[in-house]
């Protein structure tokens, strides 16, 4: 294990609120001078996590979510190897879809099956409103970026075994 905490912003900046993951990751990256032991990445493809989180024991993933809550609502979910498996309903459909549709939950469970899932993985979900191609972040989601970055920082600085100081 590297002892480095990995922060990954998932999503496409060209698809409206789907770009909130990269936007929050960029906000987190701007504060990196205050900390060491943190690596910030962005990616459009959730399956990239299989390789990105190799060697990391502590990972924070930021992604847009759609749960019916008001846009910009933040949600924190433990999905690491130390947490219980996700319910099949969250990944069975996308996990058996084409690879275009292979989602974050399916990637987490594929990693678990392959014994590649880091111990501590926290997903910071930001409720999305608009996922249209070519759109920018909706106002309520744009307004939630700073709070989401603060939540990521609180996860990054949490006392996690194996993390570099």
């Amino acid at each position: 294990m590297t002892g480095v905490t990995l922060v990954v912003g998932l999503g496409s900046p060209d698809r409206g609120d789907d770009g909130v993951g990269p936007a929050v990751a960029h906000a987190v990256a701007t504060g990196l001078t205050r900390h060491t032991g943190v690596l910030v990445r962005t990616h459009e493809d959730p399956t990239a996590l299989l390789d990105l989180w190799e060697g990391h024991d502590h990972v924070v993933v930021i992604d847009a979510v759609v749960t019916g809550e008001p846009a910009g609502t933040l949600r924190r979910i433990d999905v690491g190897a130390d947490a219980p498996p996700l319910p099949a309903g969250t990944w069975a459909e996308t996990g058996s879809a084409g690879t275009h549709a292979f989602g974050l939950a399916a990637t987490v469970e594929l990693s678990r099956a392959l014994h590649r899932l880091p111990s501590h993985v926290v997903v910071v979900g930001v409720e999305a409103e608009c996922l249209d191609l070519g759109a920018s972040l909706s106002p309520p989601v744009a307004a939630a970026v700073a709070d989401a970055a603060d939540l990521v920082w609180s996860e990054v600085t949490a006392d996690v075994p194996g993390r570099a100081g």
Binding site: E44, D45, L50, D51, W91, A92, G95, S96, A97, G98, T99, H100, F102, A106, E109, L110, A113, L114, H115
Partner: protein
């Protein structure tokens, strides 16, 4: 979902097909043991790429059309480049063709590995999907993921990134990768070669339903080597033609149940035609390199392969070929090659085709003298294979009509996955219904 009809018929309907790229459905109706209707329903909305290419500059199709697909963007880029260069009367040097072939090898490796291991192998091994397969056979899925990663790395070095490469331009590349960058890939590709050979051994041991289909195969055939980035069109009936004559031989038409145009060869008089791995292999097996040819022999592939279920074996052999070709090109590469040649705009019509992982991808552009695109036509492989898929389903259901509904439905979905359909490309496409009487 299966329904019994009041007239004694039966409908089998799968409203959302699993493990295909994009969104589609299957609908089959049976009466007295005979199939009366088969529809591969492609309901993913039309994407109008050809329409919004009009009015754009001649330099833009490689970047715009790459966005049609995250799995095969290089295919779109290569066919677009050939077509624009053809319209402008420009031929690229051999070194640029070779670098295009190398980039394309990365896409074949990534695409075939994803389909073989994540989408198709679960059908043969009795799993609902890759996650269930991984739980019982993690080492099998790891082979696939290593191959995918190798393809991604190759595409990143040559194309600038692994999805929607940014280094391709009309006339060549923005930057040629350095020999040192390419040779650094050697250990990854040597492992990939071993993984590809292991893949051939694995999939050739699967149980294949007995099925032989008589379609006319259509593939490219270049002057030398296995068809990847270019070639002349050849068919199993000996009806070959130049790429620029593609529209004269292959016409597209609309059917009510699909947002993807169907296609027919020479008016459809000889029945459905099929593009893709089985066509490529059957028409070009003599062009495989020594290692892939030996792997094909050991896998039991003859000179002709007409069982659609064995397409997974051909894809595995093509993995060996793509990795071997990548190593060959890298070993022979020297620095100092200009990355591109000028392609000044010119009024005219241009035609381009390449072998996407799923089969021939054809592009045609009409340009004004200032390079403005006046007309664009894109014929993707999945569109061309729709009639073949429907004919396979018709033959398969009538052969295995005694299977229970669940087993029959599974076999039908498996048969569709034989073609690795990319619906997202075709709409520029699946859901199953069987109606029995």
């Amino acid at each position: 979902m299966n329904h019994r009809l009041t007239d004694g018929g039966q409908v089998m309907h799968v409203s959302t097909l699993a493990r295909v790229e994009g969104e589609g459905a299957m609908h089959i109706e049976l009466r007295d043991g005979r199939v009366t209707d088969v529809q591969l329903r492609i309901y993913e909305p039309p994407r109008f790429y050809e329409a919004f290419l009009r009015g754009r500059a001649w330099t833009e199709p490689p970047d715009i059309t790459a966005r049609i697909c995250g799995i095969c963007p290089v295919a779109y880029q290569m066919s677009a480049c050939w077509a624009i260069e053809d319209a402008c009367g420009v031929s690229v040097p051999e070194a640029i063709r070779l670098m295009r072939r190398l980039l394309y090898c990365g896409e074949w490796i990534e695409s075939h590995a994803l389909h073989v291991f994540l989408l198709h192998a679960p059908d043969f091994l009795g799993y609902d999907g890759a996650i269930d397969l991984a739980a019982d056979h993690p080492s099998v899925v790891e082979i696939g993921l290593r191959l995918k990663k190798a393809g991604n790395q190759l595409m990143t070095v040559v194309g600038g990134r692994s999805i929607h490469p940014i280094n391709v331009r009309v006339g060549g590349f923005h930057r040629m990768p350095l020999t040192s960058e390419l040779r650094a890939l050697r250990p990854v590709l040597e492992q990939a070669r071993e993984d590809a050979l292991a893949t051939v051994r694995l999939v050739s041991g699967f149980d294949f339903p007995e099925m032989e289909q008589p379609y006319e195969y259509v593939a490219l055939r270049p002057e030398a080597g296995y068809p990847i980035e270019e070639g002349r069109v050849v068919t199993s009936e000996g009806n070959g033609f130049e790429v620029r004559d593609f529209p004269a031989h292959i016409d597209e038409f609309q059917v009510p149940h699909s947002h993807a145009l169907h296609a027919r060869l020479d008016g459809g008089a000889r029945g459905p035609y099929v593009v893709g791995p089985l066509a490529r292999y059957t028409l070009n097996h003599d062009r495989l390199g020594d290692l892939a040819a030996e792997a094909a022999r050991e896998a039991g592939l003859g000179a002709v392969c007409r069982n659609p279920f064995r397409s997974i074996v051909v894809r595995a052999v093509e993995l060996v070929e793509a990795v071997s070709e990548a190593l060959r090109i890298i070993d022979g590469w020297s620095d100092g090659v200009p990355p591109s040649v000028p392609v000044p705009p010119c009024a005219g019509e241009g035609f381009g085709a390449s072998e996407a992982p799923r089969g021939i991808l054809f592009h045609r552009y009409v340009l004004d003298d200032d390079g403005t695109i006046r007309d664009a036509q894109i014929v993707p492989p999945t569109s061309q294979n729709q009639a073949g898929v429907e004919a396979d389903l018709r033959a398969l259901v009538e052969t295995w009509v005694d299977l229970d509904d669940h087993a029959l439905q599974h076999r039908c979905e498996h048969a569709i996955r034989n073609y690795d359909p990319c619906i997202s490309c075709a709409t520029h496409f699946l859901d199953l219904t069987v109606d029995r009487s």
